[in-house]
Amino acid sequence: MNASPKAIVIGASAGALDALSVILPALPASFKLPLMVVVHIPPDKHSILAELFQAKCRITAVEAEDKEPIMGGTAYFAPPDYHLLVETNGTLSLSSEEPVLFSRPSIDVLFESAADAYGPDLTAIVLTGANEDGAKGLACVVEAGGTAIVQNPQDAFASAMPESAIAICPDAQVMSLAAIAAYLQKV
């Protein structure tokens, strides 16, 4: 486990909006790290996630663009109907590959590529959700030496996603949303 990560990845599904609303607006304007975020959203063309959090947060919130350089202090949201991947050269890529576990964007795809790019310098967080996406990706993060955090299934809106993540990564740190927010403020 690494005390000072270089990037954060977050995955959330059912109940995502409320959960992220606890975590992201709590981050200070001085927050140095990039956050890449996958939320399962319907494949319609337009997502309001980035706008919504831009209005609520002190950090910058944007929808990720293809080949965009990754900047600190910014939350990048995967666009609807595209996977978001992290390249080892510090940029983001989008892909319209097949959905994974019925999801595009997929948390596993983001986590796996970020684990490859950042190795031990990555912290990955699995939040509320009603499926299994994120569990395999979290295992990749752990295998690469990164830090795994999972929302306590007991206070998650939907517990299946945190539960599957914990099942695959028994050593993940299990935290409440408030604890995750506090943790991020200190990284």
């Binding site: 663009e65 080949k67 991947l85 080892t88 989008l94 319209s96 590959e97 590529s113 490859d116 790019a117």
Partner: protein, 276 residues
């Protein structure tokens, strides 16, 4: 991120070199995160212990090439995908195209033909098909064969029909195919104005002057310099005031060729070549 290169990364790099030197398929400057993911899948599913073992097989057995291409090239597509794009072509681009006596349209990276047939049907509905020559190109031969056959599973037709309607379709999609045995077979007259051919945006050159180029969700798989190469081809290939349509999440914003194009329908990533 400056750790020593992982063994698997070295193997992947060498496999891509091998593929290029032996077969002239050049994936060396594709966006690597996705290539890696897909090569790992290929290794697992084709039953090799390492990427090096996969490489050996590919080098010595040409029959492996199409199988590997099946993994390396993403084939996801649908007819009238992003209906608002086709609506914009219909409502904003077609009125300009009408002013030409003859037209050339290039669907670059046409995959199994879904995007091509969408445009041919749209052109037929707008009365432009007869004066248009369509070029449908891809590097994946199997995809080109599917495109030429124009046969899709019936379970996809509902989505295609819905998209067609949302794109402002003036007819019923069912006018263009016959259904049998769980498959929809698109009318061969839709292909009479189409040339299918093997062409790579990475290694091949411009082959004709175009009035419209549609290249959707192909360049996201390239790295930035390779995107620039492809856009350079499009720039060279387009007639003055010709149109370029990209995927919903692709743009010219970061490109060295941005100056050669103007936003035409900004939200739909449709650009117009300048008049020079």
């Amino acid at each position: 991120m400056s750790a020593p290169e992982k063994v698997e990364d070295i193997e992947i790099r060498l496999l891509l070199e091998a593929l290029y030197h032996q077969y002239h398929y050049d994936f060396r400057n594709y966006a690597m995160a996705s290539v890696k993911r897909r090569l790992k899948q290929a290794r697992e599913q084709l039953g090799f212990a390492t990427i090096s073992a996969l490489q050996e097989s590919v080098l010595h057995n040409p029959a492996m090439v199409p199988r590997l291409l099946g993994y390396l090239t993403v084939q996801v597509s649908e007819m009238f995908r992003d209906p608002s794009y086709f609506r914009a072509i219909r409502e904003k681009v077609v009125p300009h195209l009408r002013t030409y006596p003859s037209l050339k349209v290039w669907v670059a990276g046409c995959s199994g033909g879904e995007e091509l047939y969408s445009l041919v049907i749209l052109f037929r509905e707008e009365g432009l098909e007869e004066r248009t020559l369509f070029y449908a190109t891809d590097i994946n031969q199997e995809a080109l064969q599917i495109a030429e056959a124009g046969i899709y599973n019936l379970d996809r037709i509902q989505l295609f029909t819905e998209n067609h309607r949302k794109s402002g379709g003036k007819s019923s999609l069912s006018d263009y195919y016959t259904a049998a045995y769980g498959r929809a077979s698109f009318d061969k007259t839709l292909r009479q104005q189409v040339v299918f051919s093997d062409h790579s945006l990475v290694t091949d050159a411009v082959f004709a002057e175009m009035h419209l180029i549609s290249c959707r969700n192909v360049m996201i798989y390239f790295d930035r310099p390779l995107q620039d190469r492809a856009l350079g081809l499009f720039r060279e290939s387009l007639a003055r005031k010709g149109f370029l349509g990209l995927g919903a999440k692709e743009s010219l914003r970061f490109s060295q060729h941005a100056d050669a194009f103007n936003d035409f329908v900004r939200e739909e990533k449709i650009y117009q070549r300048d008049g020079r």
